[in-house]
């Protein structure tokens, strides 16, 4: 299909049905640099921010997750503090006992050493060595209460006994001992029969003798104590972990007990809201949660009853409308036929009877139109109006409306100008209702157009079509644009109407437009005419965001839009 260039004020279209051409209003300049940079930054931060957002959403969504995490944190800290306290106390106790035993060993050792060294003269190297051996043998044999230990005896004053010990003596300790104190210090030692260092306790004392001053050192390896403490640490850590897991499990179980009924209630509420009014929660027991369930079910039951009552009312209303329709229309048909018969034969009547037949016929038309409109409005009020939507070309409806109003236009002396695309513009619509809207708008425009031309424009974009009907008549007073859709509203009560408009046309049109999820709006200015705009979404169910045509005519300020 080829298209003639449209002179209708539409955006120019290149080639048949081509939509690749840029709309002319598209800016060609590149966007400002700052926005590009911020876009880049946003993109780089994208995944991380997304992950954080996900986590936050999960945290906010799940009560169970929050309770579990908080329980884990609180229990963890508590167990950690208690564990550290227990370990500190027990280790202190063990080491304290060891230290006391070591000191009492040193007291015993001092006497033994003094006795052994008493007989040795100064300068008697061999004697000193013998005495040292004797002391070592005696002490190591006797001192079992403080556990295994090794000793070293060194002469302070002479170089007699300056035998090198297997263990290094820390200098601080040695200084204290040389000053005559009983000194104790924790220091790493070599384990017996190995070169690895283990924690140890060194006790040193000064033994005065005739041959000089001797330093006596005891080396207690703390291997056993360390093993005990390590075992204790493992035990405390394991039991602490077990405790935390246990509390976590309890927290999960309890929240699950609470959360599950709440989730069930939420899901059921969702189904209720979606319209399934028979949904209930199964309730067992009589605790707080089942009380919640029971109140929920009561609420649902009450809702269901209310809605049923409203539905019944609506059904009654619908029935009433239908009955009134039938009961009124059958006699009206008889009257109508009788009046037509009289009207057709009015030539045989005297003038006043002939005129009466004419008046009766004309007023019957009005009566009928009013009855039809009232029934239509009551159908909307009862909420029973239904859309018979199908895809159709909007231009067909416009053309049909214009054709149907040709006689009326001629009677008003108004020209009807249509400005529509040259190609089909399909819309999901109920053609009958859309045609009724357009008929009302056009009839209205002709009625108020003072014989000046009436312009109809059809515009469209991908999402919506718009039809504007513009007249150049008396226009609307300020503020009237919002009132024209009110039932039985008349702009100027003194004006007569040739279309027999009854004041319901625009109200029905507005309902028709709303049924399509569309807009019907009015613009008007005193003495400058009025424009009505109908905007419909092209696909059923689509929400309108904008209209392809402005509400106010091009030559007027477009900021004046009001519904």
């Amino acid at each position: 299909m080829t298209e003639a260039p449209s002179l209708s004020g539409q955006a120019p279209v290149v080639g048949a049905g081509s939509h690749t051409a840029l709309p002319p209003e598209q800016p060609l300049a590149p966007p400002p640099r700052t926005s590009a940079v911020s876009v880049l930054r946003k993109r780089a931060l994208g995944p991380a921010r997304k992950a954080v957002t996900e986590a936050v959403r999960g945290w906010q969504r799940s009560l169970q997750l929050r309770v579990a995490t908080l329980t884990l944190l609180v229990t963890g800290v508590a167990v950690l503090v208690i564990g550290i306290f227990i370990l500190d106390q027990v280790a202190g106790g063990i080491l304290g006992a060891k230290r006391a035993a070591a000191i009492s060993q040193a007291d015993v050792g001092k006497d033994t050493a003094r006795t052994a060294l008493a007989t040795v003269d100064a300068g008697d190297v061999a004697g000193v060595a013998d005495a040292q051996e004797q002391i070592t043998a005696q002490l190591t044999a006797s001192g079992r209460s403080a556990g295994l230990f090794s000793i070293a005896i060194e002469s302070t004053s002479t170089d007699l006994g300056s035998r090198t010990t297997a263990e290094p003596v820390p200098p601080g300790l040695r200084r204290l001992v040389q000053q005559g104190y009983l000194a104790v210090q924790y220091s790493p030692l070599h384990a017996p029969g190995s070169t690895t260092l283990v924690p140890g306790l060194i006790v040193g004392e000064l033994v005065p003798a005739r041959s000089g001053l001797f330093e006596l050192y005891y080396f207690f390896p703390l291997t056993a104590e360390q093993q005990t403490i390590a075992l204790l640490q493992r035990t405390v850590a394991l039991s602490g972990l077990g405790l935390v897991l246990l509390v976590l499990a309890i927290a999960l179980l309890v929240t699950r007990l609470v959360v599950r009924p709440v989730r069930v209630a939420a899901k059921t509420a969702g189904r209720l809201a979606a319209g399934d009014l028979s949904q209930r929660i199964s309730v067992q027991g009589s605790d707080d949660l089942s009380r919640l369930g029971r109140s929920f079910n009561d609420m649902a039951g009450s809702l269901q009853r209310q809605i049923r009552r409203l539905e019944d009312l609506s059904r009654v209303q619908r029935r009433f409308t239908s009955d009134v329709s039938h009961e009124l229309r059958t006699p009206l048909t008889t009257i109508r036929m009788a009046s037509e018969l009289l009207y057709a034969n009015r030539g045989q009547f005297p003038p006043e009877l002939a005129r009466s037949a004419e008046l009766m016929r004309a007023e019957l038309d009005r009566f009928e139109a009013l009855l039809g409109d009232l029934l239509e409005i009551s159908r909307y009020d009862a909420g029973v109006a239904r859309l018979e939507s199908e895809t159709a070309d909007i231009r067909g409806v416009v053309a049909a409306t214009v054709a149907a109003n040709r006689v009326l236009a001629a009677r008003h002396g108004s020209e009807v100008l249509v400005d529509a695309p040259t190609y089909p513009v399909t819309v999901d619509m109920d053609s009958r209702r859309v045609e009724r809207i357009l008929r009302n708008l056009l009839g209205n425009a002709l009625d108020h157009g003072e014989g000046r031309p009436v312009q109809i424009a059809v515009g469209h974009d991908d999402d919506a079509v718009a039809i504007t009907v513009r007249d150049h008549g008396v226009g609307l007073k300020p503020g009237d644009a919002g009132l024209v859709f009110n039932r039985f509203w008349r702009g100027d009560p003194s004006r007569s109407r040739m279309t027999g408009g009854n004041g319901l046309g625009l109200a029905i049109s507005l309902e028709d437009a709303r049924l399509h999820d569309g807009w019907l709006q009015a613009w008007g200015e005193r003495g400058k005419g009025a424009q009505f705009r109908l905007t419909l979404p092209r696909r059923a169910g689509h929400t309108l965001l904008s209209s392809p045509l402005p509400l106010a005519p091009d030559e007027f300020d477009q900021a004046e839009e009001e519904e």
Partner: protein, 232 residues
């Protein structure tokens, strides 16, 4: 004008309306018969053998819809519903039960007579004309003067309206008919009318001539435009 006056059966319980209809119909050259109760409507139809039936939807005894179904079960005689309800459900229900057309009360007598004349229109084309449409392996052939339709060489019983609809489509096999054009050609409406008439009757036609009405091959839908005949 025909030499014999066309017979009309008026099924309506409102005596004033029935009497007024009688006056109007006699003035316009019909020969009306009346029945007020739905339960006697079928018997009256058999007795009078009318050329067209005017049927009110709300009747004592049998409802209009049921009367419509009962008549349609034994005859293709044109039925025009007189309905006080323009509600979608009622109109569609009436059309689906076999009515050819409907007028909404309060109608003008001229409008009613025009609808009846459109249904009674005689086809003058007596030249032998045979049309074939539908898929090649199961074609539908139409013998126009004999008012006969055959699918797979088996005769298909169509009402005059369904026959007219099929012939209108088959005469121009490649043309797409809008619902408005079909309303004008088949129903005789001069200006826009209810396109549901076309939709419902196309469904009824399909249920008779198609192998699978869900996947039509003889009467095709052209989305957003209308209908056309399947390729011969």
């Amino acid at each position: 004008m025909e030499c014999v006056k066309p017979r009309v059966l008026v099924v309506d319980d409102d005596s004033a309306l029935a009497e007024m209809l009688g006056i109007v119909l006699r003035t316009d050259g019909f020969e009306p018969a009346f029945v007020a109760d739905g339960s006697y409507a079928l018997q009256a139809f058999r007795d009078h053998k009318p050329d067209v039936v005017l049927l009110d939807l709300m009747l004592p005894g049998l409802s209009g819809i049921d009367v419509c179904r009962a008549i349609r079960a034994e005859s293709g005689t044109p039925i025009i519903m007189l309905t006080a309800k323009s509600d979608t459900v009622d109109v569609v229900l009436g059309l689906e039960s076999g009515a050819d057309d409907y007028v909404v009360k309060p109608f003008k007598p001229k409008e009613l007579v025009a609808r009846m004349r459109a249904r009674l229109r005689q086809h003058e084309d007596l030249a032998s004309e045979t049309l074939t449409i539908g898929p090649p392996d199961a074609p539908v052939s139409i013998d126009v003067p004999a008012h006969q339709v055959r699918r797979d060489d088996a005769p298909v019983a169509l009402t005059p309206l369904e026959f007219d609809l099929l012939v209108a489509l088959a005469r121009k096999p490649r043309q797409v008919f809008t619902r408005e054009v079909l309303l004008e050609q088949v129903w005789g409406y001069r200006h826009a009318a209810d396109t549901r008439l076309v939709n419902v009757h196309v469904q009824r036609l399909r249920s008779k001539v198609e192998r699978d009405p869900e996947r039509p091959e003889v009467v095709l839908t052209v989305r957003g435009v209308g209908y056309k005949a399947g390729p011969p």
